[in-house]
Symmetry: C2
Subunit: 144 residues, 2 copies
Amino acid sequence: MTGTARTDTAQLMELLSVSLASYYGEFTVAAASENLTASQGKTLTVLRRGAASMSALATTLTCDASNMTGIVDRLEKRGLVRREPSPSDRRVKNVALTADGERVIDTIRGRMQHTVAGLERLDVQERETLSVLLERVFVERPAT
Amino acid sequence: MTGTARTDTAQLMELLSVSLASYYGEFTVAAASENLTASQGKTLTVLRRGAASMSALATTLTCDASNMTGIVDRLEKRGLVRREPSPSDRRVKNVALTADGERVIDTIRGRMQHTVAGLERLDVQERETLSVLLERVFVERPAT
DNA sequence: TATTGTTATACTCTATAACTATA
DNA sequence: TATAGTTATAGAGTATAACAATA
């Protein structure tokens, strides 16, 4: 056989499914407590890493570019993001978090008490190990 | 200070966010290839673990019970799930996967090549470690 | 009285297609 | 010609409130 009952790929996919549903469910509730939808919250999460064009946002969020117009419209109307013209390409609009937007997304993350408590159950070495493994699975690109 | 730059809670939350986006993005694309929305796919994922009532589904999917009616309606119309009356409580309807529904959700998971390949980058010991850590963070309940 | 599932409603998300401005 | 962003449209997801059937 190619793996134990506990750690074969299908079992790990299932555990990932449960784990990420837990994270996403708690994120959705936390976003709602700030009167934001999950998609609006996810947009703020991406922008927390830095400003991005409309099309870059759509790519990162795995949705069609036309969706971003409405989502960013609503976030902008609430003063959480702002559109800025790109200096180098007049077609492009860069979207950036405002100070209010930063505050709101940080508040949302802070309210994810179940996830935060789960992470704080790990000691320093375990955190490092989890970090390395998640990077291996989701971030690293296989050599071509 | 309370942690290293790499493994403090905020950093791990960010890495989880990236991991979730990768998993969820690939899941959404795979579900779309079977003409299913992400919510429909997530419903099949939950039912793969066993039949559940409408309200239990809503709880697991972190949404209002009224949403489940339409989602299950569409899945039932395609023959992927079926509603069955509960033997013990005549108010309750249990939803179960059909053989077709099982086939479809297994196909969707099989199409998540990036995630599958990421997991298969890990050796047996690493898989076991990841499994234990995810259970610690997301599944275990703290003693009261 | 409380719970389960449904319906009606209003708003948001989503993909597709067509459009304008710019490259 | 191709790309960035927007608009229009239709179908789906979402929470709220109200309802009938059942517990």
